[in-house]
Amino acid sequence: MNNPSVGVLLSRVRVEEKLLLEALEARHVPTKVIDDREIVFALEKKPELGVDVVLERCIQHSRALYALWVLGVHGIPTVNTFEVADVCGNKLLTTMRLIRDGIPSPRTRLAFTPESALAAVEELGYPAVLKPIVGSWGRLISKVNDREAAESIVEHKDVLGTYIHSIYYVQEYVPKPGRDIRAFVVGDETIAAIYRYSDHWITNTARGGKATKCVVTPELNDLCVRAARAVGGGVVAIDILEGPEGPLVNEVNYTMEFRNSIDTTGVNIPDRVVDYVLTVAKNGGK
C-alpha cells in the first residue's frame, strides 16, 4: 500500500484537528473528514467509508467509544482502538490497568455509596480528591480538605448527579511542585513532554495552566511508554504527578490536545501522529 487514505472522525474542528488535517494535506494523503453527527452505521455490514484507517478525533467520549467499537468489529483499523478509548475514557479502568502493570499511580479507592465514599476519604486522609470516572479538562474534580467539605461534595454527587456520579472514585492528593507533566506518546516513543504550571492545584492547560518544555529523559520515556502500553498503546498523552516519592501516572488521554505543546517542545506533534496513522494503515491495524 503506497498511499493509504485516512478518515478523520470528528464533529468539532479544534486547533488540533486543523493541524492534523494540514499535516495530512502536506503529505498529499487522501483524507476524508467523517462528521460523527452525520454518520449512520448499518451494524450488520462493514461501513463503506472508503478509507484505509480512521483517526478518531471526536470531542465526545461516548461517540468515539461506540464508533470505534463498530469500526473495530468490522476490521477497519483505527487510531486509537476501542480498547484504548474504553480504558482511557474511564479513570477507574485506567487506574486498574496501571496497577496491573505495576506502574506507580496515586492511591485510589472505589466506593458505591455516600457512606462508604466518606469512609474511603477518611482512610486516605485529607486533602483527598474526588473525581468523576468519566470526564475531562479537570471538570468536576474536587479537592476536599476536611470532613465537612467531603460530606458536602458527596451529597451533591448523590443528589444532583447522574448514576455515574455515585460511582465514587477517591484519590489521595499528591502534593506537587506547582506543576505536573504532560507527555505525548506515539507508538513506542515519548515524542515530547511539557510541564504544566499553575497556581491552582488543577494544572490542565484547558484551565489556564502554562506550558514549558520538559526534557524527555530515558526514565520518563520508559514510564510513559509503559503507561501507554498498559492502556493498549497508540497515540496518548500521559499526565504525571511528581510526588515526594517519585513520579506517579495520574491519567492517560486518548484524544490528546497538543496546541500548546508544539512550539513549546519544538516537536511537530501532528506530523508524528500522521506518521503513526499511516503506519497503522499499512500494517492493517496491527
Binding site: 470531542i59 475531562s136 479538562w137 486518548y254
Partner: protein
C-alpha cells in the same frame, strides 16, 4: 462574512476556516460553529456536554 445568530453582528472568519470549526463572535462572544464555508454559514455551537474532552 456572515451574521452572528446570537447578536446579528457581522462575523468574518477568514479564508482558512473549515466546516466544523468554532469561532467567537467579536461582538457578543458567543461560540459559533462554521456550518458552511461557501457561502459562509454560522450557527450557535453546541454547549459542552459531560463526556466532552480529550
Amino acid at each position: 462574512m456572515a451574521k452572528c445568530p446570537e447578536c446579528d453582528a457581522e462575523v468574518n472568519v477568514g479564508a482558512e476556516a473549515v466546516k466544523g470549526e468554532v469561532v467567537s463572535c467579536p461582538d457578543c462572544g458567543a461560540e459559533l460553529e462554521v456550518t458552511g464555508t461557501s457561502p459562509l454559514a454560522l450557527a450557535l455551537a453546541p454547549e459542552v456536554e459531560e463526556d466532552w474532552g480529550e
